[in-house]
Symmetry: C2
């Protein structure tokens, strides 16, 4: 392993947001709360618990405030919420969360479709959102979508990504997330884009948010580790996957990632069996297998 | 990428054997033949088409001779059969195959359970099998099972693996396959065991046969590539997985592997869409999704 390899890695569990968001049947609030508690008990240091978006757009997340309120006693874990506009940040703050994740597109047509504005407009709005969150003393992460490809692998200009990272680093964000929304990353693009972003990110941690759409999720985590990345978004059981993107698969599975990292001698503080319990609970509720492999070895 | 990285990789498609073998419903001979023809047309340079074992032990492979006979006109592809004893080699030869794959266990209890003999006895028998195949002018591969772990990751002594490789290299085999039968390999053990085996294998090519039981299949392929391995067993759609091992998952998917290698600039000559067609055909027949990801992007 290279000298830059991290000895500890921080995983952010995104299953309760990125995973549940795309399920057709609405997950009961009770189950959401139980899942987050189970993940916290399993040692996940960060959990993205909800998305503060319009309930008509994403009915699955209509109970965001209630979920957060019922988790008020969870300690020692950073709970965060996703926000796509200023109202979302304000809702996250009012809910009592101490951390907010802001996500913006890197392509105009993608941004127009999802947010009704160009990337430039979204960046202006995101700058205000960062300011709002910082004034409220919240931890802020900005995530860039489709960093490794939008219509085809590598088509997102690296200069655009680097320019956006520069901008948000100057605004004082606490971390920058590079999302492979479409699952188009491979080890070569992971290495080159992480390197390019690191040059301008300074001390601001880089987070990799990877999807397994083309089966390279774990190979990309491994390459990220080799490049010294020490923060990853993962989802229990590999939940997630957008019904609007053909073949779109879930986030990299938390259990499989912990197993990979353990095999590399890297500590996460996460108990695989504890996460697998949560996965089995949700798989039973949804009456379907989830894509992850490692959880199947536990029951 | 390291200097040793191969520019071309040879994939051996094992779905028709390792994949079909564990399916409960017997696959019709017509479909087996159609699948192998489809895989050959998609550019797979090597295909393991059958297993010459006792039909009572593996009813799924009872039509081995018929499958081979009906593929007699397939050109430009090395078709092979798996054999576990001398009779298997003789049947493979009589069927007209020009290549045979011999597989032996590395643990006495595993060998006793599957083959009714100790590893030493199995090695003696395999030596005779190699001689029989060589006399017949057949290409011979010897595969070692559970090289990366049997009951737990890494518990198979590397000295035992190296000793067996030495023995078979002296017998003049054409290639040595290292199988992660239980899916316990990780990048660290891939690197260390490939390195140890290479020291004694000389010019004899090393093949990696990887399963995705713990989700690390593609990360392990990537590490194999980084170590200069240029031959891998893969299965269309990630078929395979033993019903007797809890959570056992399939071989690494052919389509996903080709995609990974292409992203690394490595040529395989395999057309992903062609393989994905085969996978969809079989998934439709079995009326279930297969574990691979990449094939889902084609229909």
């Amino acid at each position: 392993m290279d000298a830059v390899t991290p000895r500890e890695v921080i995983l952010c569990e995104v299953g309760p947001r990125d995973g549940f968001q795309y399920e057709e049947a609405v997950i009961p609030t009770d189950l959401k709360v139980e899942v987050v508690r189970g993940l916290a008990a399993a040692g996940l240091p960060r959990i993205q618990v909800a998305s503060f978006v319009h309930p008509r757009k994403v009915p699955q997340m209509a109970d965001a405030e209630e979920v957060v309120a019922r988790l008020a006693d969870v300690e020692g874990v950073t709970l965060s919420g996703l926000a796509l506009n200023r109202k979302g940040v304000e809702r996250a703050r009012a809910s009592g969360l101490r951390a907010v994740d802001i996500s913006i597109a890197t392509w105009d047509d993608h941004s127009l479709e999802n947010a009704g504005m160009t990337v430039d407009e979204a960046v202006e709005q995101a700058a205000e959102m960062v300011a709002t969150a910082r004034e409220a003393g919240m931890e802020v992460q900005v995530g860039l979508q489709t960093v490794f490809g939008f219509r085809k692998p590598g088509d997102t200009p690296v200069e655009r990504v680097v320019g956006l990272v520069k901008r948000f680093v100057r605004l004082g964000v606490d971390s920058i997330s590079l999302a492979d929304t479409t699952g188009m990353a491979g080890p070569v693009s992971i290495a080159s884009r992480v390197e390019a972003v690191r040059r301008v990110a300074g001390d601001v941690p880089i987070v990799l948010h990877l999807h397994d759409t083309r089966g390279l999720g774990m190979a990309n985590v491994y390459e990220g580790i080799r490049c010294g990345v020490d923060r990853f978004d993962t989802a229990f059981g590999g939940m997630g996957g957008c019904p609007f993107i053909r073949g779109a698969a879930g986030n990299v599975p938390t259990e499989d990632t912990v197993h990979l990292l353990a095999s590399l001698g890297i500590s996460t503080g996460v108990d695989i069996a504890g996460v697998a319990n949560v996965t089995h609970r949700v798989a039973d509720h949804l009456q379907k297998d989830l894509p992850g492999r490692m959880y199947r070895l536990f029951d």
